[in-house]
Assembly symmetry: C2
Homo-oligomer: 153 residues x 2
Amino acid sequence: MLKHKHDHDACIENALEAAQKICEERETRFTPLRRRVLELVWSKHEPITAYEVLDLLSDGKKRVAPPTVYRALDFLIEEGFVHRIESLNSFVGCSDPAHKHQGHFMICTKCSNVTEMNERSLHDVIKKAAESNGYSYENSILEIAGICENCRN
Amino acid sequence: MLKHKHDHDACIENALEAAQKICEERETRFTPLRRRVLELVWSKHEPITAYEVLDLLSDGKKRVAPPTVYRALDFLIEEGFVHRIESLNSFVGCSDPAHKHQGHFMICTKCSNVTEMNERSLHDVIKKAAESNGYSYENSILEIAGICENCRN
DNA sequence: AGTGCCTTGATATTCTATAACAATCAGGGC
DNA sequence: GCCCTGATTGTTATAGAATATCAAGGCACT
Ligand SMILES: [Zn+2]
Ligand SMILES: [Zn+2]
Ligand SMILES: [Zn+2]
Ligand SMILES: [Zn+2]
């Protein structure tokens, strides 16, 4: 999971292939633009802002406009390939795109690395807390700030 | 806790007095501007944006500038009188300013009412989850979207 | 009065996101 | 092929949220 411990090119490739396959199943359109934006989101392997994506997308002559990026991101989020990190106004690739879900994250305040937690038990606790306070549960964002194992050593 | 069930003027008054007292204890300055901004945040009793505060603050002739509002909000957040709701770019008065803490919220998607949960157990579960994933815990934001009891009836 | 520090004012700018409308592209029926 | 339709992308403009920077004012201490 940690950046220096994996082959990141393969990591990106996997994410793209998974997305491709899921879109075929759902009959949604994984267009070149959407594919490219997903690739750029994964390329950083840290939360990336929409405008960073925009800059990367605009190499050379033609500069793309914000709606182009935001629309692609909207699609990717809708399909569950990307999550938005509210506290950073940033986006990050989902580690488990096959199952639609709301992501819960830990964010390292030193290295900005983000880890997605897909823990059923935590999800259940949050849902229960809402219900015990009289709310029906729709979804939740959880973003924990802390320092990752690497950075503490 | 629900809007229609309490005397909201008293609610505001309590918040202002509590803040005043806490600032005296801490020897921080609860200036007229900061007091007024806190009053405006409470006045809505729903998340309020910085620019809404700005508009309310600018009654009549002189229009205040954004930094005036943001600086006051920064102070109020720092002191723990106000929380920021990340998913709404909004601010809300804290229900328990005496004890500094990170707020955990439920947000009604129908009426926009927000309820602050100060549940030790939930906080502990979140902290544990972070630690079991190798992160030290600094703080966390939890914002649950759902429908409140009122709106379901 | 003079100094230093905190607070507020004022101007400009940056960063984030969306509205509105035009152009293009893909697929289905003819 | 050609038209129709809906989805996608391009383009321009604008809205919304937050900060950088420097000037002015207020307060406490000497
Ligand atoms: Zn995910
Ligand atoms: Zn780290
Ligand atoms: Zn609180
Ligand atoms: Zn409600």
